[in-house]
């Protein structure tokens, strides 16, 4: 796994590079657009973390240039929300994901992992993990063969978990995916829904809940 980190801030760069290397991601750190360009010419990367505000230009311009050259590497945009008009602006230019500053390292890692596995497209109509089964066509849900009734939102949430088993899903990822919300909802809506889903999918003899919370980051369907 090889990451290109394009970030002009020395402290963030150092921290992220070190953190990524601790989880054994080979990381090349470029401080300017020029350096990023050179790094791209020298080697292949699995994923690029791209800061928008660079001393020698806008990161989005860099991205546009890469996409024009039909570069397919996944790109995660890193910026303060108000630096670009809309999250969508970044995604329209061909970014695969978007993370706003100030971010948590756990969130960054979770998103990087989703990105690198995103390519494996899941076209199955039935998803199953640990005895929980959903049918995407009939929208039926069952736990160990017993049917369970879910609301639309609960179904969408469960589908998101089942599409990303054993992976940490952050609260912002969930609220963006399920509610299409790009603002702080000022509520613990995600936690409430996860709790609801846990309640509906509980086995009587099981001590550990189905969706484990990951401190300060989000949840994981282990």
């Amino acid at each position: 796994m090889k990451v290109l980190l394009v970030e002009d801030d020395r402290k963030i760069g150092q921290f992220v590079k070190k953190g990524l290397e601790e989880v054994s991601y080979a990381t090349v750190w470029a401080r300017t657009g020029k350096e990023a360009h050179e790094a791209m010419a020298e080697s292949q990367f699995d994923v690029i973390i791209l800061d928008v505000g660079l001393p020698d230009g806008n990161g989005l311009q860099l991205l546009t240039k890469w996409r024009e050259k039909s570069l397919t590497t996944s790109v995660l945009i890193l910026s303060a929300r108000h630096e670009v008009d809309d999250k969508i602006a970044g995604l329209n230019l061909g970014a695969d994901d978007y993370l706003t500053k100030p971010f948590s390292f756990g969130e960054l890692l979770a998103r990087l992992r989703s990105l690198t596995r995103r390519q494996t497209g899941q076209k199955k109509t039935v998803l199953e993990h640990r005895g929980v089964q959903i049918n995407l066509l009939t929208r039926e849900v069952s736990l160990d063969g017993t049917p369970v009734l879910l609301t639309q939102r609960e179904f969408a949430l469960l589908e998101f978990f089942l599409r990303n088993p054993t992976r940490v899903l952050t609260r912002t990822q969930i609220s963006e995916k399920i509610w299409d919300c790009h603002f702080d909802m000022e509520t613990n809506l995600v936690d409430v829904y996860v709790a609801k889903l846990r309640g509906k999918l509980r086995r009587t003899n099981e001590a550990e809940p189905l969706f484990q919370s990951v401190r300060g980051v989000g949840y994981k369907f282990a």
Partner: protein
């Protein structure tokens, strides 16, 4: 003058019609005068011959003598003239045969030449001469002139309305072609919003008023663009310069918290530090949203949705959130309608209002949400059962950094939530207000926005 408005066109047509009418009437009057003058000249010429013959008669003048003197001459000229001679007492002494049954009117006492219409002879120009002893009258038929006159009036009566219609039509066409550049300007001006301030109005060729107007508008749009860009750049710069160091603080604080070597006695402090960092970035985020909304640099993504579906979805989330705190949410809405709005923005307003209502509700309280369509507006009311707000502070709560409750209360924001609601509602050309419930404690926040928000 260039006619612009429809009333100008009517005015223009009236002026054109009136001018044409007066010009034609004057022309007609002039021709009539010419004809009469010509006739009078002929009558005078003829009278000299007649009077000469009358003068040769030896008095007393009698019918027989007149007959002998005038008969031959009047027969020669009967195609053109009528003759009649009477004595001062009014007794007719001689009449030319072409008069038939007609009798020329005695003009004694009035002007010597008159235009009269007689039953059997039609329109006549009659002249009366006064040699000694008798009055001689000579008349010419104006029948030809009369028929031209009648035809003229007929054409004239048909022509005036036609001219009026034509001049209205021409005025409209002129108006349309004159206003075309204005219409183009309107279309462009309407299209220009925060999203496409780079656009400019096409400056029509030529150095007329339209060109000047287009230039003026373009200059105005340019000034707007500059101030928008300034606001955008400011928020972008502030975001970058403040969020980057905040990231560093957050990253390190979280790392400390996850470090098993962190002494337990520091745990609480580091946790507090992390919370404060998050609170700071949230407040900053909101301030930047407000700054953008203030300068209209916050682009709205306007789409048409069913308010029933939208509110239904929101109510589902609201009910769950309320249940998790032992509260209830009830949604009441009248017949659903389609409305044009930015879903993300309106959802943010609703969640802000809901989170306030949840925070201030007493245990087991009920939050009631009304969604209704009134007079082309979509109105939403959020009723809670909390303490309400002192009446003199009801308007303050939408101001920035205003808080009615103590700041230390857990979960309280920085006092920007309602200010953001106000900005977002106003971006939709709507309004927001609050009042206390009557008969029991509780606050009602009401916002309304047009069903069809159009951003100029």
């Amino acid at each position: 003058m260039i006619p612009l408005r429809a009333s100008h066109v009517v005015f223009y047509a009236a002026v054109v019609t009136l001018t044409v009418t007066v010009a034609v009437a004057c022309g007609f009057w002039f021709i009539r005068q010419q004809v009469l003058t010509g006739n009078d000249f002929l009558l005078d010429a003829e009278s000299k011959e007649i009077l000469a013959r009358v003068a040769q008669i030896t008095p007393p003048v009698a019918a027989g003598k007149l007959e002998a003197a005038l008969r031959e001459h009047t027969e020669v000229d009967e195609a053109l003239f009528y003759f009649q001679v009477h004595n001062p007492a009014g007794k007719v002494l001689f009449r030319s045969p072409n008069l038939g049954a007609g009798v020329l009117t005695d003009l004694t006492g009035g002007p010597d030449k008159r235009t009269l219409s007689l039953p059997s002879l039609g329109l006549l120009r009659i002249a009366e001469y006064h040699p000694p002893m008798v009055d001689v009258q000579i008349a010419m038929s104006l029948r030809n002139f009369q028929s031209v006159n009648d035809r003229f009036i007929y054409v004239f009566l048909l022509g005036v309305p036609l001219i009026a219609v034509l001049s209205i039509g021409f005025g409209m066409a002129l108006r349309k072609s004159t206003l075309k550049p204005v219409r183009l300007m309107q279309a462009t001006a309407r299209r220009i919003s925060a999203n496409n301030l780079g656009e400019r109005i096409d400056v029509p060729p030529g150095g007329d008023d339209m060109t000047a107007l287009a230039r003026l508008l373009n200059e105005m749009i340019e000034r707007l663009e500059k101030s928008f860009n300034h606001a955008k750049r400011f928020t972008a710069d502030v975001s970058h310069e403040l969020m980057t160091p905040l990231s560093v603080i957050r990253l390190h604080t979280e790392k400390l918290l996850n470090d098993p070597d962190l002494p337990v006695k520091y745990h609480h402090s580091v946790e507090e530090q992390l919370q404060a960092t998050l609170h700071l970035s949230q407040t900053l985020e909101r301030l930047l949203t407000l700054a953008k909304a203030d300068s209209s640099a916050l682009p709205l993504k306007l789409e048409t949705h069913s308010t029933t579906d939208f509110m239904g979805q929101f109510a589902e989330d609201a009910q769950l959130l309320a249940e998790s705190r032992g509260l209830h949410v009830v949604l009441l809405q009248n017949d659903g309608s389609l409305a044009t709005f930015d879903q993300g923005c309106v959802r943010q307003v609703l969640f802000n209002l809901l989170s306030n209502a949840l925070r201030f509700s007493p245990p087991k309280g009920t939050i009631t949400i009304f969604s209704k369509r009134i007079d082309g507006e979509w109105t939403v009311e959020v009723w809670d059962e909390g303490q309400g707000v002192p009446p003199n502070r009801l308007n303050d709560i939408f101001e920035r950094f205003v808080q009615i409750t103590p700041r230390s209360e857990p979960g309280s924001g920085a006092g920007l939530g309602l200010a953001i609601c106000k900005s977002l509602v106003e971006l939709h050309r709507g309004r927001i207000s609050a009042h206390n419930r009557i008969g029991r404690s509780g606050l009602v926040v009401v916002y309304s926005m047009p069903l069809n928000t159009q951003i100029a």
